[in-house]
C-alpha cells in the first residue's frame, strides 16, 4: 500500500527536490506552501506523514503542529527547518509527539526519506 506524505515547504526549489525524492521512493505526495493550507490538507488528505517547514507565511509551522494535535490527529510530523533548535522547538517536539526535528542544511534528502520510512515502519 502506497504511503502518502504531505510536504509543507515555502521554498520552491526545496519543495521540488523533496517531491522528486519522495515520489522516486514510492510515496504518493501532497504539497503546500503555507500553514493554513497545511492544516486543511492534514484533515482532508489524511497523509501518513508530514514534513513541516517552520518559517511560513501566515500560520507558522509550530502553530500548525499544535493545531494538528489539537484536532486529535496523531500523524507523525518531521519538522524540517533551518532554524536552530531553540527551546520552543524542542518543547514542541516533546509535547506534540510523534514529531522529529531535522535541520535541512545538515540532512541529505536521502536521510530525510530514510527517516520517513523508518517512522512509518517501511
Amino acid at each position: 500500500m502506497e504511503k502518502k506524505i504531505l510536504i509543507v515547504e515555502d521554498d520552491l526549489d526545496m519543495l521540488t527536490l523533496l517531491k522528486t525524492a519522495f515520489t522516486g521512493a514510492g510515496f504518493s505526495v501532497l504539497t503546500c506552501k503555507n500553514g493554513t493550507e497545511a492544516l486543511q490538507l492534514v484533515q482532508s488528505g489524511r497523509p501518513d506523514l508530514v514534513t513541516l517547514d517552520l518559517v511560513l507565511i501566515g500560520m507558522d509551522g509550530m502553530t500548525v503542529l499544535k493545531e494538528i494535535r489539537k484536532h486529535g490527529i496523531r500523524v507523525p510530523v518531521i519538522i524540517l527547518t533551518n532554524l536552530p533548535a531553540d527551546q520552543e522547538i524542542m518543547e514542541g517536539v516533546v509535547r506534540d509527539e510523534p514529531s522529529y526535528y531535522m535541520v535541512k542544511s545538515g540532512s541529505p534528502i536521502e536521510d530525510i526519506v530514510a527517516k520517513a520510512k523508518t517512522t512509518l515502519g517501511i
Binding site: 515555502d10 521554498d11 526545496m14 522528486t20 507565511i57 527547518t81 542544511s105 534528502i109
Partner: protein, 406 residues
Amino acid sequence: MKQITLERKQIEQDLKNAKIAAGNVLEDLQIEKEMLAGAKAKDEAMLASIGDGVIIVDVAGKITFMNRVAQDLLGWKDTESIGTLLFDIVPIENEKGDPVEAGARPMAIALAGRGPVAGAGEIFAPSPQKNISIPYYYVRKDKTRFPAAITVAPVLLKNTLVGAIEVFRDITKEREIDRAKSEFVSLASHQLRTPLTTINWYSEMLLKSGATEHIERQKEYLEKIHAGSRQMVMLVNMLLDVSRIELGTLVVELKPTNVPALLSEVLNEQKPQIDGKKITIENDFSSDIPICKTDGNLLRTVFQNLLSNAVKYTEARGHINTSMSLDDEGNVLITFSDTGYGIPKKDHAHIFTKMFRADNIKEKGAEGTGLGLYIVKSVLAALGGSIRFESEENKGAKFFVTLPPA
C-alpha cells in the same frame, strides 16, 4: 588647723584637676562623636548615591535603609518602607509570574547564613535544581514588574549576623539586547542555511543522477548550485556589514568619486536580473553632478541594495527609474523609483529596522534578509547622507538618497 587647711586646699586642687580632666574627656568624646556622626553621614551618603538600588534589612528582615535608586525602582518611599518587612512590600516573581517563596529569596538565603548570593538577573536555585537558572522579577508598588540582577550579602558584626544588604538593578535593557542578539543569530543561521540546503540537495541529486540524467537537467542543477553559492557570498557580506556597523568599525575612506559613473556600473551589474524580468528602466542623470568626496565602496553597497530591492519587488514587465540631480543646497539627490509591490502604510515606520520585512513582500515569496535597508541607512549616515521614501501598497516605491558633495 593649719594641717586641715592644707588638706582642704589639696582636695580642692585635686577636684579642680579632675574637673579639667573630665572636661578634656568630654571634649574628646564630643570630637569623637562628631567624627562618628560625620563618618556615618558619609557612609549613608555613599550608600544613598550608589547607582544601583540598595536595601538594608535587620536580622528580622525589616527594612532599615533604602537608597534613592531603590525607591525609584520599586516605587516605595523610604518613609513608608523603613520598619516594614521587605518580603511584605516587595514580592519577587519568576518568569511566569509565580511568586518566589520567601525561603528561596536571595535575601532569605543570605539571612539564613548561607553566604553571599549573586546572579545576573538569575539566581541559581538551591538543589535539587542546582543547575537550573531562574530569572527573577521585582514587583513594584504599582504591581508592574522588572527583571533584576540581584546581589545579597549578610552583614556581620563581630561574627554576629545583624542583617543583610541587597544591591540590585533593572536589567530590562540588557535582556532586550540579549533577546535581539539571539534572534539575530537565529535569523542569520536560518538565512545562511537556506542557500546551503539548496547547494547540498542539488549537488546530491546531481551526484546520484550520474550520466543517466539529461544534460539540460544537469545544467539546471549546476545553475541552482551556483545561485545558492552567490546568495551565500552576498549574505556573508551583508552580515559582515551589519557586524561592522554595530561594532562601530565601518571604515569610511573618502576619495573623489564619480557618482553617476558608479551608479551606471551598478546598473550594468544588475542588467541580467532586470532583463530577466523584462523590466524597463530609465535613467536620468543631470550633467552638473560634481566629483564627490565620498567612499565609493560603501556608496556602491547603497546603490546595489536599492536597485536590487527595486528589481526584486517589482513584477515582471514593470518599470524602474533612477535619477540624479543637485538639490538647492548643492547636495546630490539620487532617486530610485519602481512600479512594484510598494510598502503598506502600517510598515512605513519599520522598514529601516534590522530584520524587518513587510508582510506583503513575504507573501509574494520574494527572498530577502531584512538587512538591506538597515545597512543602507547606516552606511548613508556614516557618509553624512540620508534616505527617505514615499510609497503606497501596490503603487510602487520611491527612495530619495541625499549625499553631501564633500
